[in-house]
Symmetry: D3
Subunit: 329 residues, 6 copies
């Protein structure tokens, strides 16, 4: 059976000053459309997967423009709900050296955050679906959103759909305590957990050195069989990023053969790209080593692309995998 993905989450408008300007300095902004789950969906679409997105958007031309962005990235929008007060937004000011990025959320009262679980008929939505993806951001938005995630997990589990979740802890949305309590109800449904070394430490108090222990611990706590982790650190006065991937899949641990050292054009969405590419590789039944290498390379590319979305084709990943210039073994 061909894999068919369904991703569920908010789709936000992203407002960024053009060029190197600060929010304080300019009146010129780009308005693009993204969000963690949408970024995953759009990379899956870019890679040629059959993928559909479920969200709620206001019934106006801004909502319409957001649909266009999804479709352009090969994501099906037939299940998108329309209505509610507004599109969630966020402002992103790109940082530079000592001036770090500035991210301002403006998602209060959005159509998606105000969704009612009743609006979502998961039996209908999951027709033909083989993979369901959500992140820790959605349950953080509202109790209704958390309930919708739980509903979705239950329905998916019944239909033996593979469930993946990217932790994506956002301190601006909820406390570690609240996150732990809510996620404890959702993680037992999850087959594949995605995360990065920074948030694993923050949420679970584990500083990842031994990824086998980490995988064992997550299996013990939540029964999670597989974990994909992006491992990174900053170098050379903030001018370079070290990036590598680790995948523990049903007891088997592999690390990306390459550890990349790169300049960063836009850091947002790097983790989403790693998640999407891991899911892509697993769904296409790549050998694990190939899968983590592919996911690491695909997400490395994201850091060199402006915007949240990893605007690549599979050929771009192959080009990087076969290049010799950017590796730091």
């Amino acid at each position: 059976m061909e894999p068919k993905f369904l991703c569920f989450g908010e789709l936000l408008g992203r407002l960024s000053p053009e060029g190197d300007q600060r929010i304080l300095q300019t009146n010129r902004f780009s308005l693009t459309y993204s969000g963690s789950e949408a970024n995953v969906a759009m990379l899956l679409g870019n890679l040629g997967m059959d993928v559909s997105y479920v969200t709620k958007l206001p019934q106006n031309d801004v909502g319409e423009a957001a649909l266009r962005a999804l479709r352009a990235h090969n994501v099906q929008t037939g299940h998108v709900l329309r209505g509610g007060a507004r599109m969630g937004l966020y402002f992103v000011e790109k940082g530079m050296s000592a001036r770090t990025s500035n991210l301002i959320y403006d998602r209060v009262g959005s159509s998606f955050a105000s969704i009612s679980p009743d609006e979502l008929d998961w039996d209908e939505l999951f027709r033909g679906v083989t993979h369901f993806h959500f992140t820790g951001i959605t349950p953080a938005l509202s109790d209704a959103c958390a309930q919708a995630c739980l509903d979705a997990c239950r329905a998916a589990k019944e239909k033996q759909i593979v469930i993946s979740c990217d932790l994506n802890y956002r301190a601006k949305l909820w406390s570690v305590e609240k996150a732990n309590a809510v996620l404890a109800t959702l993680l037992p449904y999850v087959d594949i957990l995605l995360s990065n070394n920074a948030e694993i430490e923050q949420l679970f108090g584990i500083h990842t050195e031994n990824y086998e222990e980490l995988a064992d611990e997550l299996k013990k706590r939540f029964g999670i069989e597989s974990v994909g982790t992006a491992v990174y650190s900053i170098r050379d006065h903030g001018t370079l990023l070290d990036w590598a991937g680790v995948l523990s899949y049903k007891g088997q641990l592999v690390q990306s053969r390459n550890r990349y050292t790169i300049q960063v054009l836009d850091p947002i969405g790097g983790g989403d790209s790693f998640s999407a590419a891991v899911l892509y590789g697993l769904a296409r039944q790549m050998p694990l080593q190939e899968c983590v290498d592919f996911a690491t390379a695909a997400s490395v590319l994201k850091f060199t692309i402006s915007g949240d979305v990893d605007d690549i084709t599979p050929a771009d990943v192959q080009k990087l995998l076969h290049s010799k210039d950017f590796l730091n073994r």
Copy 2:
């Protein structure tokens, strides 16, 4: 005593696609800062008046950027409150011929709409103030905002501050019935009412042909002494606008000597400019004829300027008043 204005209302971010693009077509937007009362304040500042603005803005760089816009226009910001969830926004897509403008409000849950009347100490705010201006938009935003307007009117009346109000009826914010009920509590405090021929008909059921009767009627109903009205109509398949001003001041009626026929670059804020310029003329004790001529010319210029704000100097108005090319007596 030198006039000192205080304007009270929301300050919104305005998002407009660049150039001739539709919201559906582009990712490039300008983000400027405006709002009916703020537009009045900024034109007063442009004309050299001592003017201060009272609003509430979120404590982030978008709020900071909005303050910069006020200050650039010579408006004092020392009384602006900071805090709350978000800046109200609106999207404006410029129309063209058969494709009319598209305006999408995104002001739900804004810092200003969520203001508490207790945050505003009108005795303190009105120190040294001679003129207070608000519009019918603010009481439409929330009950608290309506209460704040009432508090302000009472305090201003006590201090013998001249109170002006621009009706600015917005069907997207409240019904005619609700507007009538709430305005009925505020208009009795108002000394100078500002409006245009379209909304006078819509709100009060009066089609303005005889402005003396209109002024009499408003005096009878609300005790309003003075009324400034912008009179307009569309011509030549929507390519031209006819624009003129009427001022009824304490029983004396004058009409602008010129009736302008103009092309419109950006229609938003034309009425605000007429209001501000009438208030400026009266505060500077211009002869009534001169005052209405000045206000008409100043607001005509707004239609030729992009953005809500009438970005002019007094010299620009004089230039138009002494030009011979654009009149349509």
Copy 3:
């Protein structure tokens, strides 16, 4: 059965100088993706129709970007062939008053023009399709393209698919004689012919005053049952356009109730929009009067939108149909 459209033709890159600049003056261009049949497909997608596009694009990122444009407009791209030498391009310099538009074709040797009829398996492509649309541009590109059109018409006719053709005579591509000869082999398959008053005169030597006679004549010559015609003229020193629609459907003639007088932002694609909207109305079985009114209004909007594509939603058409300001009965 729900209508399902398949459009067949080239997809070109359109290079236009930004703003009001001439090609001679600037280095800044917009690159968008369009073409007569693609414009029809994209408007059908914008209006919510199930529509698929068949073309051939080079296997590079420019081809990929073109696919994105189709998808953004809700057009399915699963049948697009990839390969060949290059994407066809054209340069468009927007005219202004006495300086008329400048259009430079650069489509020689394109992947589509070099297509082989064998690459197209029409039985497969037409699975589930109810409506097939092509234009007189495709057979003008190469003998192979003309053959492909003929193959498609035969296959469609067999499957009782409704066949529509927009004449779209382009003097830069072929002579009137060649066009007449080739079209004579194709038009007998056509159910719905679309055209405008200028090219009907040029190709068939008929100056349309009496549209019933025109329809009769086309039925006699080619057996065409239905004809949609956009009727236009230029007014006021080139500053305004008069635009109306006529539809002769199986012997019944209706004219649009409104004749619009509008300013033109971008003239290209106006006829394509009329065609697409007529096809949409007929496929949705609108009453004929409603259909021609809708198509006339939808295509009027195109003239106010930059680019070839009528970037509208159905709501935009309704807004214009219920507006009173832009009609010229």
Copy 4:
């Protein structure tokens, strides 16, 4: 002998806000390079004439960029002097309807205005030259510039070079009295005078109705044999311009067969284009009627092109001359 033009005058940087913005509103400007005499030279270059420019530019990259602009327009720069304090500049804010254009000179102390007559060896400069062009702006800049004009006229006259002068009276540079006094020393050398109906009235007190009388009068006063005049008026609330040409050549008077009614994109340089195109036509020995028709059409195009320079090819003029849509006989 092939005509070879030499034009003498300042070359200024022109700073204009992008799009529809006012100087007050934006930080984005275009910097292009122009000036009345340079505009003439650049149109001559565009039309394929052999033309050289004499001016003085500062020895920095702004001066270098200005040279590039001349060369791009096919104007030879081998005689341009380098040095001095600065490039003269001017700010141009495009007007719109009731808001008229705003032009701010910033040319004080420029390298050209500070030129010394000794720097110019006219014998050397005029080698091979058949036509010399200057305007009334240059003698207005400084006494040295006036002296340079006189030197040039004397040297040109000796060499039987055809001397043309565009009056170009600028009230911001000198008074009518001063202009009359200085021009009185220069005009006796002039063979072809170029002007427009507004400035002829302003400078010589003649309201041009009878162009033969005008030509006679100019011949009587200054011995000028030939006069080219652009005749214009504003229509329809400033939205349209009427434009026609008159040429009195050695006693023979012709008027352009077409009188154009056009929308104006950028008014600056229209007169320069008329002058250049008259000189071109005469130098190429066009029949007089053809010459004035060509010049009128070429200058009409300028009004539809942004910037001072008439960025056209000869083909553009032919296209307009053979078009039927924009004439107002």
Copy 5:
């Protein structure tokens, strides 16, 4: 008593090519408003200080736009003189690696450089002022400007206003000899001298290794009690900048605890920011260590911001001071 700053100097228009273009390559420039003393004033305004600017600007819209920039940055403009010939300008082309920045002054004959000392009534201007700031650029512009500085220093000294001066030696404006002679008349009035290690060496022949000796020497020569010095060097083939601060305040010497290694987006104005932030810290009576740390961090941020002005809020500085990623102890 709350500190109230008055800064005195030119306000220039800065013309920079957009993006990475050279002056030779592009017609698109940004026009912003800055100048060493204005940069200090605008950072003081950004930090919330009460600050006023004294300069002279031409009476046109460019001058008006410059006023807007000051006000946007919270700088009072009530004392700005209007008139004179022109606004001083300068062109800045951003360098990149081996291609160093290109700065072209175009300030000859500016309104400010042509100021008369009589236009400035320092008794009036200094009403309520506690801190006066000027730089070594102003006396370099003209004898009148030097005289105005001397007048200001005398008046300030009488009123016990704290006087600060940034050396800002500009070789393009005057020789070291002339600078030494003129500064010798001004420095005895100065309480706080600001400078950087490069110009201290150039002007006074001291290579700063021992800052105590430097402070002693400056005290001996000019009686200056306090000196703030920005210490920098270039690293890694010009890709990184090392930056630290030293403050000798009334005999007490402190160095910034952090030495930053950063990438540079725009080098201009870094020293001005250090000066402004030192003055801010001292005026707010920060402990010396905190003051120099704050000033170092605030000026580090400037290098990451485009334009001359340090467009930050106090929160940005705190964010950097508490970050761990960009330090190089």
Copy 6:
């Protein structure tokens, strides 16, 4: 005799996404005009050489715009042929770190590639010429182009014109085998061969360590007397480029005294700049060491400039040669 260069090759339109965008992401492109031989010609023009370009461009405004670019760079265009189907184009997407540049040729069927050798009268074209330059790209385009190169070489040799050739092997245009075969007929005419270390290895199987041996080998094989070689390598994860020059001139070998380590803004055209600057130095009879140092510095600057063309003045090279900051001896 003053050197007079003639360069022969294609002139292409280069389409690049603005800023950091990918082709997939944006509709905004810059269209500039370049090509290896044209880049050489334009740098020669920038450096003040007398240089003419021979190519063929279509007879439309895109071809006209390309001529303007040549002229702006001081290149004579009197010999450019007009006609043919189209201008060759190429798309360049700037890479960034792990995402390498993407170059898509779109030059099939261009006017130049379709040139007929008969259109070129080399006796006429070479009148007064002292130096002829072509590259290995031209013979790769078509047999006719290869023939034209051979014709030119023969004619040039007869006239004792110095012939230079930049190898410029392009794997996208022909195989190594084909290249070897064709170049073997051309290289015997060549006096000065230009190349870089990467392609020398690829084409001739020589990894350049000993440049004397290399020069000897080339002399043996083809009789080439002089060879200029740019030697480079990538460093620090692709963030830096090492660049140096070697020149073997009639048996004498010199290496650039500086080896530069630089950041790269735009890599295209670096080799062309080295070639042009070597030819310039030799033509001006610079001492060899000075010549190779100049050429190395001039080409280093290219890497810091956007676009293919080395948009510099001689002063820029001098500035770099006398700077101390960017060298890596």
